[in-house]
Subunit: 321 residues, 2 copies
């Protein structure tokens, strides 16, 4: 939860004068986001998010996110646009921070998604992947497969084993497997790379918006489906696979987009997706004091997913294809 | 800033089924409030606040706040109503907490108010005081004049002097003065008792809402004006009186409501208002670790106000009456 930088209503009202969005009528700091300060802004003409990028954010990547979201919006995807000011600028300064005014999309995030919602998520992800086929922006994935060995080394053997006995051996053995077997030949494009339930807005059973593209990057298209599958298809402790959810995501996806090139290697991509979040959560766990205000997420919820995905015998059967 | 208790969209959607307010289309935790968890809720029919009362809140006082706000609303005052569910209940349970759905009012809080805004605040406060003349609810002021001696004793001589050398003597001498001179004979009624700029919503120069009635209580009517004057009419460090603001508040108030009974004792009420916030801030300062997440407010900003108000020679001249 976060509002790191405070802005006054007077500052925001003056900021909005650069835009053609009407006059400020409501301003509320939002308790979400761990790297940005986010405000709900209502004007006489609509609702918006005002995001102030804090120091930890790499603002050199903002033009990539901007052009990706503009491309997706123009292709009919339900994503929030950056709003241009009257001079065509979408990146501003406010309260000493880089700041953007962003479209506010209706919808709420599911905590216990239904199969129908999961189907819509798969469908919407396929729509996104179809839409970026002619998007030429490039951004390396800083959390991608090539980074995992060094992330694990930063956690360290002792660090990993402090989370769970023998975790280090499990991680480094798995990394050996993944480095040999990672399907680098698969098609790459822009991907969301973090499509957890928090980042999907729903109205009833239908996706109304995909949000939080700040991990978006260039990576294997099918890896994005693997991340989404891993993020949605388990109980919150990672210990129970929810087959009706996982199957619905894949069915929603394949109804709109061909997955045949990737089916046989999906287990490896699932294992990679589990490794990526296992490692980032381990790193955060080791480097966040237990009494810090930020809630630490349990790394082992992704070790359990890794264990589960490692046991897939028949990818086609598992995926229901 | 605060969301202490998390609720899922599914829980809120089910909660809203008790009401005739349409279906949930947006839910955002709000980074404000230090005793409650607050959520912005949008439905197909309107915007609301969902408030969950945390353990520190005395929920036995909620019926008083409810009836006061209903009374004020019926009298035409701009205050947020508690929304009744389909069975006429306004107090619910959600996520194990007492919970209420509350009207969302448009408007933003001023950080550097204009004289026109201050006039509207005085006018709106007088409107509130007129409206409660026939309100018969009673709630003792737990932070009222009778509580200050014990608040000061809880801070202790060492505690007070740790904030500023000689502060304890200044406080206890002032408390002796106030206990002898407090104008207990003045008219009492329901008062807001905490009408800081944060608790006033404005659209342009006009008040669009008074909010956060959780300190509302029965106390001297003119004391409420004194609190408001002290809250609005100084630079943020308390060191500079802003006469155009203070005068505008009084002018706005007296244009709608007679103050003649209280004019001569307003300096004492101003000193009491300064003492009330000096003491509560001293208590919080002494009892909040410097590295806690909650920002501690500077007690001395109210010592400066106390010093300023203690030098008023001619109340009528000072008030511009």
């Amino acid at each position: 939860m976060a509002v790191f930088t405070h802005v006054s209503a007077e500052e925001v009202a003056a900021f909005l004068c650069r835009y053609s969005v009407g006059e400020l009528i409501a301003l509320k700091g939002i308790a979400e986001g761990v790297q940005n300060s986010n405000f709900f802004v209502e004007t006489t003409q609509g609702k918006f998010f005002l995001t102030l990028y804090e120091e930890r954010v790499d603002i050199t990547a903002l033009p990539y996110f901007h052009s990706l979201l503009a491309h997706l919006h123009n292709a009919g995807c339900k994503v929030p646009r950056f709003i241009d000011d009257n001079d065509g600028n979408w990146l501003q300064q406010l309260a000493g921070r880089p700041a953007c005014l962003i479209e506010f999309l209706s919808g709420v995030s599911a905590t216990t998604p239904t199969a129908q919602q999961a189907y819509s998520v798969g469908d919407t992800l396929a729509q996104l992947h179809n839409a970026v086929e002619d998007f030429d922006g490039i951004r390396p994935n800083e959390m991608g497969a090539d980074s995992w060995q060094s992330m694990a080394e930063k956690c360290g053997v002792d660090g990993l084993n402090s989370i769970s006995p023998m975790l280090a051996k499990r991680v480094f053995d798995e990394l050996d497997f993944l480095s040999v077997n990672w399907p680098r030949h698969l098609k790459s494009s822009a991907v969301h790379a973090d499509l957890f339930p928090d980042n999907v807005l729903l109205l009833g059973n239908d996706v109304s918006g995909l949000i939080d593209f700040y991990f978006a990057c260039t990576d294997l298209v099918a890896y994005d489906l693997a991340v989404t599958h891993a993020a949605w298809s388990f109980s919150s402790d990672g210990g129970t696979y929810l087959p009706q959810i996982g199957t619905a995501i894949v069915n929603g996806y394949t109804a709109r987009r061909d997955l045949s090139d990737a089916i046989e290697v999906m287990p490896i991509l699932f294992r990679g997706a589990s490794m990526r979040f296992l490692l980032s959560r381990c790193y955060d766990w080791i480097n966040t004091p237990a009494n810090a205000f930020v809630t630490r997420k349990d790394p082992l919820a992704f070790l359990k997913r890794l264990d589960f995905y490692s046991k897939i015998d028949n990818p086609r059967d598992f995926l229901g294809l």
